[in-house]
């Protein structure tokens, strides 16, 4: 489905990677590996179209993603370094709005149960600015539970999470893969998911 051929990206004068090629089929999961500054985030952002690659092609089902635009966006879920939550809204409102923007309207019950599964019981109606760093990340991750996207693009999803939450994320990834979803992600912490492939950016 997702196919990357001979991709090359640079930032400033600095060539991050070149000649990068890989394929991702339904049910597959790929970890992008590399030291700090090796270009993992840049790769994921190039996949989303935020960053124009110097060379190479990114295609989805044979069609270039740059041409698909909105059609491609409907297929992906991107979670970056930033949580994309509003400090002044509570977890519930944040989740419902985020879902709405990515095209699926939630009722309150669905949102509450997603948040509770993420371990935020009793914190659903606090403004997110008072939440702890890990709780904020959990609110952002709750989007994984309410989304129909086929391809998850996750940039260090485990940041600030405690051990329990890391296990939960592992479970979520496995469920998604079992539904024939695809995942491409980065992390500096070990993650136990069967069938994990890694792509090293030296």
């Amino acid at each position: 489905m997702l196919e990357v051929t001979k991709l090359a990206c640079s930032r400033g004068d600095h060539r991050l990677f070149s000649g990068l090629s890989f394929r991702l089929e339904p049910g597959q999961i790929l970890q992008v590996d590399g030291a700090n500054g090796s270009g993992k985030t840049s790769l994921l952002r190039a996949l989303c179209g935020f960053l124009m690659p110097d060379e190479g092609e990114i295609s989805w089902g044979g069609i270039s993603t740059a041409k698909m635009e909105e059609e491609f966006y409907a297929k992906i879920l991107y979670l970056g370094h930033l949580n994309a939550i509003k400090d002044d809204l509570n977890a519930l409102e944040n989740l419902r709005i985020a879902a709405g923007i990515s095209g699926c309207l939630l009722d309150e019950q669905q949102a509450v149960s997603a948040l509770q599964r993420m371990g935020l019981r009793g914190r659903e109606r606090l403004p997110t600015k008072v939440l702890s760093q890990g709780q904020r990340r959990r609110v952002a991750l709750a989007r994984l539970l309410v989304n129909q996207a086929k391809l998850w693009i996750l940039d260090e999803p485990l940041t600030a999470l405690d051990v329990g939450a890391v296990h939960l994320i592992e479970t979520l990834l496995m469920e998604h893969l079992a539904r024939q979803g695809m995942v491409i992600f980065t992390t500096h912490q070990p993650l136990q998911v069967p069938g994990l492939r890694t792509l090293s950016l030296s």
Partner: protein, 221 residues
């Protein structure tokens, strides 16, 4: 369409959470208008003549002031990335944000203007035209301003740069708006001024959301 409503509701909700910001814009407007008599002196004749101009300039400045926040907060916390990845039309989403911005920062000024106009001893007729002009003009300010806000995203000193980019573009609105009040004061017809304002509003409604969406994509790279 659903997206439009969602975005408007979201931005209004955020504004209500931070009622302070809304009040600040309004307060700024009131202060600027009230500072003028202090700076210029209390001669009623002169004040009456400058009333429309002062009110319009104050409206322009205070909507400029709140424009900085239009996309900047969404940009900083990553929400904007998610919006650019929305599987619906980005122009629609941008239009929603513009409308919400106007409801929060333009509309209150329009409602406040009559009270301030009285301070300057404006006639009821002139006040009426002023309000109509503001009603047509402030949405244009929000929309043109949105382009500037999108272009200056993430730049240091963005606020001031934003004003530099947007103010020259907004000058026709200012001139048509004050022109209408002037015309009524001189007993001329106001129709032409107001219909020009209306035309600019329609043009802006059609083009600015798309232009702003492009500007956002450029800024996000």
């Amino acid at each position: 369409m659903k997206l439009l409503v969602l975005v408007i509701r979201r931005d209004l909700m955020l504004a209500m959470r931070r009622r302070a910001d809304v009040l600040t814009t309004l307060f700024f407007f009131v202060m600027v208008v009230s500072l003028f008599p202090l700076g210029v002196g209390p001669e009623m004749d002169m004040l009456r003549k400058m009333a429309a101009g002062v009110l319009w300039v104050a409206a322009l400045l205070s909507s400029m002031l709140s424009l900085g926040r239009l996309f900047a907060t969404d940009y900083l916390d990553g929400t904007l990335e998610q919006m650019l990845l929305a599987p619906q039309s980005l122009s629609m989403l941008v239009l929603g944000k513009m409308i919400a911005h106007w409801m929060v920062s333009g509309l209150p000024l329009v409602l406040m203007a009559p009270v301030l106009g009285l301070q300057f001893d404006m006639s009821v007729q002139a006040l009426g035209i002023l309000i109509v002009g503001l009603l047509l003009g402030t949405p244009i300010l929000s929309m043109i301003g949105a382009i500037g806000a999108a272009l200056t995203l993430g730049l240091r000193g963005g606020g001031v740069l934003l004003s530099l980019l947007v103010l020259p573009l907004c000058i026709p609105v200012l001139i048509f708006g004050t022109g209408a009040v002037e015309a009524i004061a001189n007993g001329q017809s106001v129709a032409s001024h107001l219909s020009l304002l209306g035309a600019v509003l329609v043009l802006a409604l059609v083009f600015t959301p798309w232009v702003t969406a492009q500007a956002l994509r450029i800024s996000m790279e």
